[in-house]
Amino acid sequence: MRVLTAIIAIAVGVLVLLGYFFPALPYVQDIQALLLNWAMLMIAAAAIVGVLNLVFVHADKIRRREKGNLYSAILIIFLFGTFLLGLILPPGHEIMRLILNGVIFPVEAALMGILTITLLYAAVRLLRRRADFTTIVFLVTAALVLFGSATLPFGENIPVFSGLATWIREVLAAGGARGILIGVSLGTLLTGLRVLFGIDRPYGGN
Protein backbone atom coordinates (compact mmCIF):
# COMPACT_ATOMS: atom_id res chain seq x y z
CA MET A 1 0.00 0.00 0.00
CA ARG A 2 2.88 2.37 0.94
CA VAL A 3 4.63 1.86 -2.37
CA LEU A 4 1.44 2.08 -4.41
CA THR A 5 0.36 5.41 -2.87
CA ALA A 6 3.86 6.82 -3.46
CA ILE A 7 3.78 5.62 -7.10
CA ILE A 8 0.38 7.29 -7.63
CA ALA A 9 1.55 10.60 -6.12
CA ILE A 10 4.84 10.65 -8.07
CA ALA A 11 3.28 9.58 -11.38
CA VAL A 12 0.47 12.14 -11.17
CA GLY A 13 2.90 14.86 -10.09
CA VAL A 14 5.35 14.17 -12.93
CA LEU A 15 2.59 14.03 -15.57
CA VAL A 16 1.11 17.35 -14.38
CA LEU A 17 4.58 18.96 -14.27
CA LEU A 18 5.32 17.78 -17.84
CA GLY A 19 2.26 19.72 -18.97
CA TYR A 20 3.69 22.90 -17.43
CA PHE A 21 7.28 22.65 -18.60
CA PHE A 22 7.03 20.64 -21.86
CA PRO A 23 3.73 21.74 -23.38
CA ALA A 24 4.97 20.98 -26.92
CA LEU A 25 5.11 17.21 -26.25
CA PRO A 26 2.11 15.38 -27.77
CA TYR A 27 -0.91 14.70 -25.48
CA VAL A 28 0.94 16.10 -22.44
CA GLN A 29 -1.38 19.09 -21.95
CA ASP A 30 -4.51 16.97 -22.49
CA ILE A 31 -3.33 14.50 -19.85
CA GLN A 32 -2.51 17.39 -17.49
CA ALA A 33 -5.98 18.94 -17.96
CA LEU A 34 -7.65 15.56 -17.39
CA LEU A 35 -5.64 14.83 -14.22
CA LEU A 36 -6.25 18.33 -12.82
CA ASN A 37 -9.99 17.97 -13.54
CA TRP A 38 -10.05 14.66 -11.64
CA ALA A 39 -8.08 16.22 -8.78
CA MET A 40 -10.54 19.15 -8.67
CA LEU A 41 -13.49 16.72 -8.40
CA MET A 42 -11.79 14.84 -5.56
CA ILE A 43 -10.93 18.13 -3.77
CA ALA A 44 -14.61 19.16 -3.98
CA ALA A 45 -15.58 15.81 -2.45
CA ALA A 46 -12.89 16.31 0.21
CA ALA A 47 -14.40 19.74 1.03
CA ILE A 48 -17.78 18.05 1.59
CA VAL A 49 -16.10 15.40 3.77
CA GLY A 50 -14.52 18.28 5.74
CA VAL A 51 -17.97 19.78 6.29
CA LEU A 52 -19.27 16.35 7.36
CA ASN A 53 -16.38 16.08 9.81
CA LEU A 54 -17.40 19.45 11.31
CA VAL A 55 -20.94 18.07 11.75
CA PHE A 56 -19.66 14.88 13.40
CA VAL A 57 -17.40 16.77 15.82
CA HIS A 58 -20.25 19.05 16.95
CA ALA A 59 -22.81 16.21 17.02
CA ASP A 60 -20.42 14.37 19.33
CA LYS A 61 -20.26 17.44 21.59
CA ILE A 62 -24.07 17.50 21.78
CA ARG A 63 -24.25 13.75 22.45
CA ARG A 64 -21.74 14.03 25.30
CA ARG A 65 -23.53 17.14 26.65
CA GLU A 66 -20.20 19.00 26.70
CA LYS A 67 -19.94 22.64 27.69
CA GLY A 68 -21.11 24.90 24.86
CA ASN A 69 -23.24 22.21 23.18
CA LEU A 70 -25.96 24.82 22.52
CA TYR A 71 -23.56 26.59 20.15
CA SER A 72 -22.85 23.26 18.44
CA ALA A 73 -26.60 22.69 17.93
CA ILE A 74 -26.94 26.19 16.42
CA LEU A 75 -24.00 25.51 14.09
CA ILE A 76 -25.46 22.20 12.86
CA ILE A 77 -28.95 23.69 12.31
CA PHE A 78 -27.59 26.59 10.27
CA LEU A 79 -25.15 24.36 8.38
CA PHE A 80 -27.86 21.94 7.27
CA GLY A 81 -30.32 24.75 6.59
CA THR A 82 -27.85 26.52 4.29
CA PHE A 83 -26.65 23.31 2.64
CA LEU A 84 -30.17 22.05 1.87
CA LEU A 85 -31.18 25.45 0.52
CA GLY A 86 -27.93 25.54 -1.45
CA LEU A 87 -28.66 22.13 -3.01
CA ILE A 88 -32.06 23.31 -4.25
CA LEU A 89 -31.16 26.87 -5.20
CA PRO A 90 -28.15 27.89 -7.31
CA PRO A 91 -25.58 30.31 -5.74
CA GLY A 92 -26.96 33.24 -7.78
CA HIS A 93 -30.52 32.89 -6.42
CA GLU A 94 -31.97 35.80 -4.34
CA ILE A 95 -32.20 33.71 -1.16
CA MET A 96 -28.58 32.56 -1.48
CA ARG A 97 -27.57 36.18 -2.11
CA LEU A 98 -29.57 37.15 0.99
CA ILE A 99 -27.55 34.60 3.02
CA LEU A 100 -24.32 35.91 1.54
CA ASN A 101 -25.14 39.63 2.01
CA GLY A 102 -27.02 39.25 5.28
CA VAL A 103 -24.76 36.85 7.17
CA ILE A 104 -21.41 35.99 5.56
CA PHE A 105 -20.27 39.44 4.33
CA PRO A 106 -21.39 41.44 7.42
CA VAL A 107 -19.78 38.98 9.86
CA GLU A 108 -16.54 38.92 7.86
CA ALA A 109 -16.45 42.73 7.66
CA ALA A 110 -17.35 43.15 11.34
CA LEU A 111 -14.62 40.67 12.37
CA MET A 112 -12.20 42.63 10.21
CA GLY A 113 -13.43 45.84 11.90
CA ILE A 114 -12.78 44.34 15.34
CA LEU A 115 -9.18 43.85 14.19
CA THR A 116 -8.63 47.64 14.45
CA ILE A 117 -8.90 47.35 18.23
CA THR A 118 -7.11 44.02 18.66
CA LEU A 119 -4.22 45.04 16.39
CA LEU A 120 -3.75 48.32 18.24
CA TYR A 121 -3.81 46.47 21.56
CA ALA A 122 -1.31 43.90 20.23
CA ALA A 123 1.05 46.67 19.06
CA VAL A 124 1.01 48.31 22.51
CA ARG A 125 1.58 44.95 24.21
CA LEU A 126 4.48 44.20 21.84
CA LEU A 127 6.18 47.46 22.80
CA ARG A 128 5.72 46.69 26.50
CA ARG A 129 6.91 43.08 26.36
CA ARG A 130 9.73 43.18 23.77
CA ALA A 131 11.08 46.62 23.08
CA ASP A 132 14.08 45.52 20.98
CA PHE A 133 15.54 46.81 17.69
CA THR A 134 13.17 44.87 15.38
CA THR A 135 10.08 45.85 17.39
CA ILE A 136 10.98 49.54 17.27
CA VAL A 137 11.72 49.40 13.51
CA PHE A 138 8.42 47.52 12.98
CA LEU A 139 6.26 49.96 14.96
CA VAL A 140 7.97 53.14 13.69
CA THR A 141 7.54 51.93 10.09
CA ALA A 142 3.87 51.04 10.70
CA ALA A 143 3.23 54.49 12.23
CA LEU A 144 5.05 56.32 9.40
CA VAL A 145 3.16 54.41 6.69
CA LEU A 146 -0.18 54.97 8.44
CA PHE A 147 0.49 58.70 8.84
CA GLY A 148 1.66 58.82 5.23
CA SER A 149 -1.56 57.30 3.92
CA ALA A 150 -3.82 59.37 6.17
CA THR A 151 -5.58 62.39 4.66
CA LEU A 152 -6.06 65.84 6.18
CA PRO A 153 -9.61 67.26 6.51
CA PHE A 154 -9.32 69.03 3.13
CA GLY A 155 -8.41 65.83 1.28
CA GLU A 156 -4.63 66.34 1.11
CA ASN A 157 -1.97 63.95 2.38
CA ILE A 158 0.37 64.99 5.20
CA PRO A 159 3.30 66.52 3.17
CA VAL A 160 6.51 64.93 4.57
CA PHE A 161 4.98 61.66 5.73
CA SER A 162 3.35 60.97 2.38
CA GLY A 163 6.64 60.97 0.42
CA LEU A 164 8.49 59.08 3.15
CA ALA A 165 5.77 56.41 3.35
CA THR A 166 5.87 55.94 -0.43
CA TRP A 167 9.68 55.54 -0.36
CA ILE A 168 9.48 53.05 2.53
CA ARG A 169 6.79 51.02 0.73
CA GLU A 170 8.41 51.04 -2.72
CA VAL A 171 12.08 50.68 -1.78
CA LEU A 172 12.84 49.38 1.72
CA ALA A 173 9.78 47.16 2.10
CA ALA A 174 10.03 46.00 -1.53
CA GLY A 175 13.54 44.67 -0.83
CA GLY A 176 12.48 42.90 2.36
CA ALA A 177 9.29 41.54 0.78
CA ARG A 178 11.26 40.20 -2.18
CA GLY A 179 13.67 38.44 0.18
CA ILE A 180 10.77 36.91 2.13
CA LEU A 181 8.91 35.91 -1.07
CA ILE A 182 12.00 34.30 -2.59
CA GLY A 183 12.59 32.43 0.69
CA VAL A 184 8.96 31.27 0.81
CA SER A 185 8.99 30.14 -2.82
CA LEU A 186 12.28 28.24 -2.30
CA GLY A 187 10.68 26.51 0.71
CA THR A 188 7.52 25.73 -1.29
CA LEU A 189 9.60 24.38 -4.17
CA LEU A 190 11.55 22.14 -1.82
CA THR A 191 8.37 20.85 -0.13
CA GLY A 192 6.84 20.04 -3.53
CA LEU A 193 10.01 18.27 -4.69
CA ARG A 194 10.18 16.24 -1.46
CA VAL A 195 6.64 15.00 -2.17
CA LEU A 196 7.52 14.19 -5.79
CA PHE A 197 10.65 12.28 -4.74
CA GLY A 198 8.60 10.33 -2.20
CA ILE A 199 10.59 11.64 0.78
CA ASP A 200 7.51 13.28 2.34
CA ARG A 201 4.24 11.36 2.19
CA PRO A 202 1.54 13.54 3.73
CA TYR A 203 -1.15 11.19 2.36
CA GLY A 204 -0.04 8.54 4.89
CA GLY A 205 2.14 5.46 4.58
CA ASN A 206 5.48 6.73 5.91
Partner: protein
Protein backbone atom coordinates in the same frame (compact mmCIF):
# COMPACT_ATOMS: atom_id res chain seq x y z
CA UNK B 1 -38.65 29.54 -7.68
CA UNK B 2 -40.03 33.08 -7.27
CA UNK B 3 -40.23 34.95 -4.00
CA UNK B 4 -43.23 36.84 -2.59
CA UNK B 5 -40.94 39.87 -1.95
CA UNK B 6 -39.54 42.52 -4.26
CA UNK B 7 -35.80 43.34 -4.47
CA UNK B 8 -36.07 46.32 -2.05
CA UNK B 9 -37.68 44.19 0.65
CA UNK B 10 -34.95 41.56 0.23
CA UNK B 11 -32.29 44.27 0.51
CA UNK B 12 -34.00 45.51 3.69
CA UNK B 13 -34.00 41.95 5.12
CA UNK B 14 -30.30 41.44 4.35
CA UNK B 15 -29.53 44.93 5.72
CA UNK B 16 -31.37 44.16 8.98
CA UNK B 17 -29.68 40.76 9.30
CA UNK B 18 -26.33 42.46 8.61
CA UNK B 19 -27.05 45.08 11.28
CA UNK B 20 -27.92 42.44 13.90
CA UNK B 21 -24.84 40.33 13.11
CA UNK B 22 -22.60 43.41 13.08
CA UNK B 23 -23.83 44.47 16.53
CA UNK B 24 -23.41 40.90 17.82
CA UNK B 25 -19.80 40.81 16.59
CA UNK B 26 -19.04 44.33 17.87
CA UNK B 27 -20.26 43.23 21.33
CA UNK B 28 -16.83 41.53 21.59
CA UNK B 29 -15.43 44.97 22.47
CA UNK B 30 -16.92 44.56 25.97
CA UNK B 31 -15.48 41.01 26.18
CA UNK B 32 -16.18 37.48 24.93
CA UNK B 33 -19.94 36.96 25.37
CA UNK B 34 -22.99 34.89 24.43
CA UNK B 35 -24.08 37.09 21.49
CA UNK B 36 -20.59 37.14 19.93
CA UNK B 37 -20.34 33.36 20.16
CA UNK B 38 -23.79 32.77 18.69
CA UNK B 39 -22.91 35.04 15.74
CA UNK B 40 -19.63 33.17 15.22
CA UNK B 41 -21.23 29.72 15.31
CA UNK B 42 -24.02 30.80 12.94
CA UNK B 43 -21.36 32.27 10.62
CA UNK B 44 -19.34 29.02 10.72
CA UNK B 45 -22.43 26.89 10.03
CA UNK B 46 -23.71 29.10 7.21
CA UNK B 47 -20.23 29.39 5.62
CA UNK B 48 -19.64 25.61 5.76
CA UNK B 49 -23.09 24.93 4.26
CA UNK B 50 -22.51 27.57 1.59
CA UNK B 51 -19.07 26.15 0.68
CA UNK B 52 -20.54 22.64 0.37
CA UNK B 53 -23.35 23.92 -1.87
CA UNK B 54 -20.89 25.87 -4.05
CA UNK B 55 -18.76 22.69 -4.37
CA UNK B 56 -21.91 20.91 -5.58
CA UNK B 57 -23.11 23.58 -8.04
CA UNK B 58 -19.78 24.68 -9.47
CA UNK B 59 -17.67 21.52 -9.44
CA UNK B 60 -19.49 18.25 -8.85
CA UNK B 61 -22.73 18.93 -10.76
CA UNK B 62 -21.23 20.32 -14.02
CA UNK B 63 -18.08 18.17 -14.12
CA UNK B 64 -19.31 14.87 -12.70
CA UNK B 65 -23.09 14.49 -12.57
CA UNK B 66 -23.99 16.22 -15.86
CA UNK B 67 -21.42 14.27 -17.99
CA UNK B 68 -22.53 11.01 -16.29
CA UNK B 69 -26.13 11.67 -17.32
CA UNK B 70 -25.72 13.23 -20.75
CA UNK B 71 -22.04 12.74 -21.74
CA UNK B 72 -20.59 10.45 -24.42
CA UNK B 73 -19.50 6.88 -23.68
CA UNK B 74 -15.85 8.02 -23.49
CA UNK B 75 -16.73 10.81 -21.02
CA UNK B 76 -18.58 8.32 -18.83
CA UNK B 77 -15.69 5.82 -18.99
CA UNK B 78 -13.16 8.52 -18.03
CA UNK B 79 -15.28 9.55 -15.05
CA UNK B 80 -14.92 6.11 -13.48
CA UNK B 81 -11.54 7.13 -12.03
CA UNK B 82 -12.61 10.34 -10.23
CA UNK B 83 -15.81 8.59 -9.13
CA UNK B 84 -13.71 5.84 -7.52
CA UNK B 85 -11.52 8.56 -5.95
CA UNK B 86 -14.57 10.36 -4.55
CA UNK B 87 -15.90 7.10 -3.07
CA UNK B 88 -12.48 6.48 -1.49
CA UNK B 89 -12.48 9.99 0.02
CA UNK B 90 -15.99 9.46 1.38
CA UNK B 91 -14.63 6.35 3.17
CA UNK B 92 -12.69 8.76 5.38
CA UNK B 93 -15.93 9.25 7.29
CA UNK B 94 -15.86 5.57 8.34
CA UNK B 95 -12.86 4.97 10.67
CA UNK B 96 -12.49 1.28 9.69
CA UNK B 97 -12.30 2.00 5.96
CA UNK B 98 -10.52 5.35 6.13
CA UNK B 99 -7.21 3.76 5.00
CA UNK B 100 -8.65 3.31 1.49
CA UNK B 101 -8.81 7.09 1.08
CA UNK B 102 -4.98 7.20 0.97
CA UNK B 103 -4.98 6.38 -2.75
CA UNK B 104 -7.20 9.35 -3.56
CA UNK B 105 -5.24 11.56 -1.16
CA UNK B 106 -1.98 10.50 -2.88
CA UNK B 107 -3.52 11.55 -6.21
CA UNK B 108 -4.54 14.97 -4.82
CA UNK B 109 -1.18 15.51 -3.11
CA UNK B 110 0.76 14.54 -6.26
CA UNK B 111 -1.26 16.92 -8.45
CA UNK B 112 -1.10 19.63 -5.77
CA UNK B 113 2.69 19.28 -5.42
CA UNK B 114 3.16 19.67 -9.18
CA UNK B 115 0.89 22.75 -9.32
CA UNK B 116 2.75 24.19 -6.31
CA UNK B 117 6.18 23.64 -7.89
CA UNK B 118 5.10 25.24 -11.17
CA UNK B 119 3.39 28.11 -9.32
CA UNK B 120 6.35 28.79 -7.02
CA UNK B 121 8.81 28.75 -9.92
CA UNK B 122 6.88 30.62 -12.60
CA UNK B 123 4.69 32.78 -10.39
CA UNK B 124 7.08 33.85 -7.63
CA UNK B 125 10.71 32.79 -7.82
CA UNK B 126 11.59 33.75 -11.40
CA UNK B 127 9.58 37.05 -11.48
CA UNK B 128 10.94 38.13 -8.08
CA UNK B 129 14.57 37.41 -9.01
CA UNK B 130 14.05 39.20 -12.36
CA UNK B 131 12.42 42.16 -10.57
CA UNK B 132 15.31 42.41 -8.12
CA UNK B 133 17.95 42.30 -10.86
CA UNK B 134 16.06 44.84 -13.00
CA UNK B 135 15.69 47.25 -10.08
CA UNK B 136 19.17 48.63 -10.86
CA UNK B 137 19.05 50.72 -14.07
CA UNK B 138 21.62 50.13 -16.84
CA UNK B 139 24.11 53.00 -17.20
CA UNK B 140 26.65 53.35 -19.97
CA UNK B 141 27.92 56.93 -19.53
CA UNK B 142 28.59 59.25 -16.55
CA UNK B 143 25.64 61.34 -17.77
CA UNK B 144 23.36 58.30 -17.26
CA UNK B 145 24.67 58.03 -13.69
CA UNK B 146 23.85 61.66 -12.93
CA UNK B 147 20.43 61.32 -14.53
CA UNK B 148 19.46 58.06 -12.81
CA UNK B 149 21.23 58.54 -9.48
CA UNK B 150 18.02 58.27 -7.44
CA UNK B 151 16.98 55.12 -9.27
CA UNK B 152 20.45 53.66 -8.67
CA UNK B 153 20.27 54.34 -4.91
CA UNK B 154 16.79 52.83 -4.72
CA UNK B 155 17.83 49.83 -6.79
CA UNK B 156 20.85 49.17 -4.58
CA UNK B 157 18.63 49.47 -1.48
CA UNK B 158 16.16 46.92 -2.93
CA UNK B 159 19.01 44.56 -3.87
CA UNK B 160 20.57 44.91 -0.41
CA UNK B 161 17.18 44.40 1.26
CA UNK B 162 16.55 41.21 -0.71
CA UNK B 163 20.04 39.80 -0.09
CA UNK B 164 20.17 40.69 3.62
CA UNK B 165 16.66 39.30 4.24
CA UNK B 166 17.68 36.02 2.62
CA UNK B 167 20.88 35.95 4.69
CA UNK B 168 18.79 36.41 7.87
CA UNK B 169 17.07 33.10 7.04
CA UNK B 170 20.39 31.28 6.63
CA UNK B 171 20.58 29.02 9.66
CA UNK B 172 23.76 27.08 8.86
CA UNK B 173 25.80 27.22 12.10
CA UNK B 174 28.97 25.72 13.57
CA UNK B 175 29.83 24.55 17.06
CA UNK B 176 32.20 27.03 18.68
CA UNK B 177 35.11 26.22 20.99
CA UNK B 178 32.99 27.04 24.05
CA UNK B 179 30.35 24.52 22.88
CA UNK B 180 27.77 27.08 21.74
CA UNK B 181 26.28 26.82 18.24
CA UNK B 182 26.56 30.07 16.25
CA UNK B 183 26.55 31.37 12.72
CA UNK B 184 29.75 32.80 11.22
CA UNK B 185 30.57 36.34 12.42
CA UNK B 186 30.04 38.01 9.01
CA UNK B 187 26.72 36.17 8.49
CA UNK B 188 25.64 37.23 12.00
CA UNK B 189 26.29 40.92 11.22
CA UNK B 190 24.55 40.73 7.80
CA UNK B 191 21.62 38.87 9.38
CA UNK B 192 21.30 41.65 11.97
CA UNK B 193 21.06 44.16 9.10
CA UNK B 194 18.52 41.84 7.46
CA UNK B 195 16.37 42.17 10.58
CA UNK B 196 16.00 45.87 9.78
CA UNK B 197 14.50 45.13 6.35
CA UNK B 198 12.25 42.39 7.78
CA UNK B 199 11.05 44.80 10.49
CA UNK B 200 10.29 47.48 7.87
CA UNK B 201 8.47 44.98 5.61
CA UNK B 202 6.35 43.59 8.44
CA UNK B 203 5.63 47.16 9.57
CA UNK B 204 4.32 48.03 6.09
CA UNK B 205 2.24 44.81 6.04
CA UNK B 206 0.86 45.68 9.51
CA UNK B 207 -0.05 49.19 8.33
CA UNK B 208 -1.78 47.69 5.26
CA UNK B 209 -3.80 45.23 7.35
CA UNK B 210 -4.67 47.99 9.82
CA UNK B 211 -5.87 50.26 7.00
CA UNK B 212 -8.00 47.42 5.58
CA UNK B 213 -9.48 46.72 9.04
CA UNK B 214 -10.22 50.41 9.49
CA UNK B 215 -11.93 50.52 6.07
CA UNK B 216 -14.06 47.48 7.02
CA UNK B 217 -15.03 49.15 10.31
CA UNK B 218 -16.03 52.37 8.53
CA UNK B 219 -17.99 50.35 5.93
CA UNK B 220 -19.94 48.54 8.68
CA UNK B 221 -20.74 51.77 10.52
CA UNK B 222 -21.79 53.55 7.31
CA UNK B 223 -23.97 50.57 6.26
CA UNK B 224 -25.76 50.79 9.63
CA UNK B 225 -26.34 54.54 9.17
CA UNK B 226 -27.55 53.98 5.57
CA UNK B 227 -29.95 51.23 6.69
CA UNK B 228 -31.65 53.55 9.17
CA UNK B 229 -31.89 56.17 6.41
CA UNK B 230 -33.56 53.65 4.02
CA UNK B 231 -36.20 52.30 6.42
CA UNK B 232 -39.51 53.82 5.25
Amino acid sequence: MTLPFDVNTLDLFSGLAGLIFTLMIFSYVIGDNFLFRIALYIFTGVSAGYIASVAWWQVLRPNLVAPLISGSALDKALLVFPLAGILMILMKVLPRLSGISRFAMAFIVGAGAAVTIAGALRGTLIPQVEGTLNSIPRMNTPADLAQNFNMLVNGVAILLGTALTLIYFHFGARTQQDGSVRRMGVIEILAWLGRFFIGVTLGVVFAGVYSAALTALIERISSMINLFGNIP
